[in-house]
Subunit: 437 residues, 2 copies
């Protein structure tokens, strides 16, 4: 078994405290802490090691009056080494966290063979591609970690809101037999001897489930073979999907607003978020698609009725409309086959997009609940109704009126953390150019 | 827009109460309820409709002294229709939930064109394949729904335990560039112009992440191209993965035990679970692999040291060992490349499986934390270390000692709900023969 003679085994050592808990340790009590070395500073007769664990920093101090073996061990330490330290913490206001440990024992548990091209607290870091190539090391930087601690709390708070409001968490299959929507391309997969695809949305499943459970949500991966390389698209991303029976698009718009206000406020209580467009006390703005076109027109950014509102147009609207805002009543032609047209104006639909800044965060609407009408819309969209037979069959057994939305979790995270590139808020991003690590 | 002249639109109607809340409505207050018709019973001058919503049942009663239009509407109702009802609830001890509503208005929101081959409360139902072909309708049966309400609460309680104990929720990519483990076959995917695979485990990612976050967990889909059709395997299933720095397999075994005891007790407070092998007050049993072989030997079910303990052998052990139990210290040769051998007996490993009844629920161990040793083990397992270069590179920058486990959520659900077939606990199961619905 290859082993590094300089490296100690964990043995019976276990963490007794995190860095953040050390200030409240009774005087004289020995502790065991673990972490990664953020910096080593030698000031003549004293060496300071700053140790980072998942709760923060602690200073380990050793003087040249210490045990010789211990001094030698200390001399072998490098940044990015993982160590365990035993000793008695002492109040030391100048140290991070207000505590220092003069160690009685130390274990070097792992040491780097290669030194990363940045320190844990570096302001200067390599470009995004280099960082993503060594993402597991990039993620050791506390500035990057904060993004994922925010994500953790955001998810917990969104689930708390949804469960608290009677939505059942569901898991739909990610391997499917046919396209859910036209438009975005699918990844084909060899499923035993058949052709399958990766689901680009749980749409048909969540719709089928409202006939059984009335209110459902799913937070899971979706896959889109996006050929365009932008700062806001990925091939694999996390979607927050909700679907509900006996309501319309206006109800789920309110639900989406309450969900975001509730979850974001909870996250803000725990994290210092950069000033962002979701930090709103008021209600979300609402504007119809037609009115949005008028706003664009006045700004010299004319679109024909029926055009999609592309990113460049959202950039114009951003300067005119307070974020976050809903664009409602989209042309039926711009929306997927399952979106319900208005009864009296079928060229318009019971639909909405949620925009924040120039970013589309979510999209939703009332769904068509009749099989015949779905078949008609599928054909109009150039999709083959026979490929949707299992889905359509659900409607033969009756489906209640329903509405729902899909919310892009990673885009929401971009907004919350002020990141310009969606890759920054995903642990291991996937795009046309990147399938590893 | 095709529409059914018998069907009403939702209009401004919204639910005011769920069935379960009706007993506490002040006398004389009108309510609006929605649901699916479970049964219709005509007793001469009175018709009883039993309505099911996500909270339970409510009886709708109409006599032949009622408004004629309303009586006509009532006559058009069928089982599996979705309706809305307005009226004043009255205490009626004989009715389900102790309340009946004599309606003032009714809306028929959706009606079946086809009648399912079972009722919502049928004891006799079609075989599994037929039910899975019409799964969205099968799921309208309350007996089936209870499984997914248990799953919802189980997930909530597992996440509460994990978050409460400092584990960070992470999301690893499901599209990967190479196999994580030998053994189970991978689904190949065409990723733009490259070959990719669906992840059969988040193993390498969760390991890389402990270098940054120390304690992580992920609950998400995993994919295995299992050719065998058994009652306990699926091609797509949900895995609960945990990984932690500065601990060994013995620590994560304790964590797994505490997680299960905590989450299952919480679920049991809310649901009546069938008698199952996880309902334990005591600690989980532990037995070494070698001792398990001795037990088998005494039962005439001899295995050679180094053999895997297959399902048939687990069936024998089930009669001898109190469930749930851990089998520890597996032969290194039976385990994946990343499992750490014992320092003094490298043919044995710091590993465990959690067994419940004859079902393997989880598997875990201490991980190897040296690059050289990982390369050696990869080669011994016939895997190409170059395919793992991104993963191995993380170890060049130092990786703390760590351990973890993977727990099969769907198998845990089988155990909890007493289901013999894993397909019963998955909304839309996937196996070699099934890619739809």
């Amino acid at each position: 078994m290859p082993s590094d003679s300089l490296v100690d085994s964990l043995g019976t050592w276990r963490r007794s405290h995190y860095s953040g808990d050390l200030v409240s340790v009774p005087p004289g009590q020995e502790v065991t802490v673990f972490g990664i070395i953020a910096s080593i500073r030698n000031q003549g007769r004293i060496t300071f090691v700053i140790l980072l664990d998942s709760q923060g920093l602690v200073q380990i101090t050793i003087g040249n009056d210490a045990d010789e073996a211990l001094q030698k061990r200390f001399g072998e330490l490098k940044e990015f080494s993982y160590i365990g330290v035993r000793g008695i913490p002492k109040k030391f206001p100048k140290a991070p966290g207000g505590v220092e440990i003069v160690p009685s024992q130390i274990k070097l548990l792992a040491r780097p063979k290669t030194t990363p091209p940045f320190g844990l607290f570096s302001k200067q870091v390599p470009n995004l591609e280099t960082r993503m190539d060594m993402r597991s090391i990039d993620l050791r930087r506390p500035a990057v970690q904060e993004i994922f601690r925010i994500r953790h709390d955001l998810l917990n708070n969104m689930r708390a809101y949804l469960s608290g409001n009677g939505y059942l968490e569901v898991t739909s299959p990610k391997i499917i037999s046919s396209a859910t929507e036209g438009g975005a391309a699918l990844f084909p997969i060899l499923y035993f001897d058949k052709e399958g695809f990766l689901a680009q949305s749980p749409q048909v499943y969540k719709e089928q489930l409202v006939g059984a459970f009335e209110k459902v949500y799913e937070i899971g991966p979706i896959f889109r073979a996006e050929e365009s390389r932008t700062m806001r698209h990925l091939a694999e991303t996390t979607s927050v999907d909700l679907e509900e029976a006996f309501v319309t698009f206006e109800d789920v718009m309110s639900t989406l607003e309450s969900l975001l206000v509730s979850a974001v406020s909870a996250v803000q209580k725990k994290h210092t978020l950069p000033k962002n467009k979701l930090s709103t006390d008021g209600r979300f703005t609402k504007i119809t698609y037609s009115d949005a076109l008028n706003v664009l027109d006045k700004d010299g950014a004319h679109l024909d009725w029926g055009d999609d509102i592309a990113f460049t147009s959202l950039k114009v609207l951003e300067t005119r409309i307070k974020s976050p805002y809903f664009i409602t009543h989209w042309p039926t032609s711009t929306k997927a086959f399952y979106i319900k047209p208005l009864e009296d104006k079928p060229e318009m639909s019971e639909s909405f997009d949620l925009i924040c800044g120039s970013l589309e965060l979510a999209s939703g609407g009332t769904r068509i609940d009749s099989r015949e009408f779905l078949e008609q819309r599928l054909s109009e969209k150039g999709l083959n109704p026979r490929a949707f037979e299992y889905h359509l069959k659900s409607f033969d057994y009756a489906m209640p009126p329903h509405a729902g939305f899909g919310l892009g979790l990673d885009r929401l995270m971009m907004t919350l953390t002020g990141q310009e590139n969606i890759r920054e808020v995903v642990l291991f991003p996937r795009d046309q150019g990147r399938l590893a690590p």
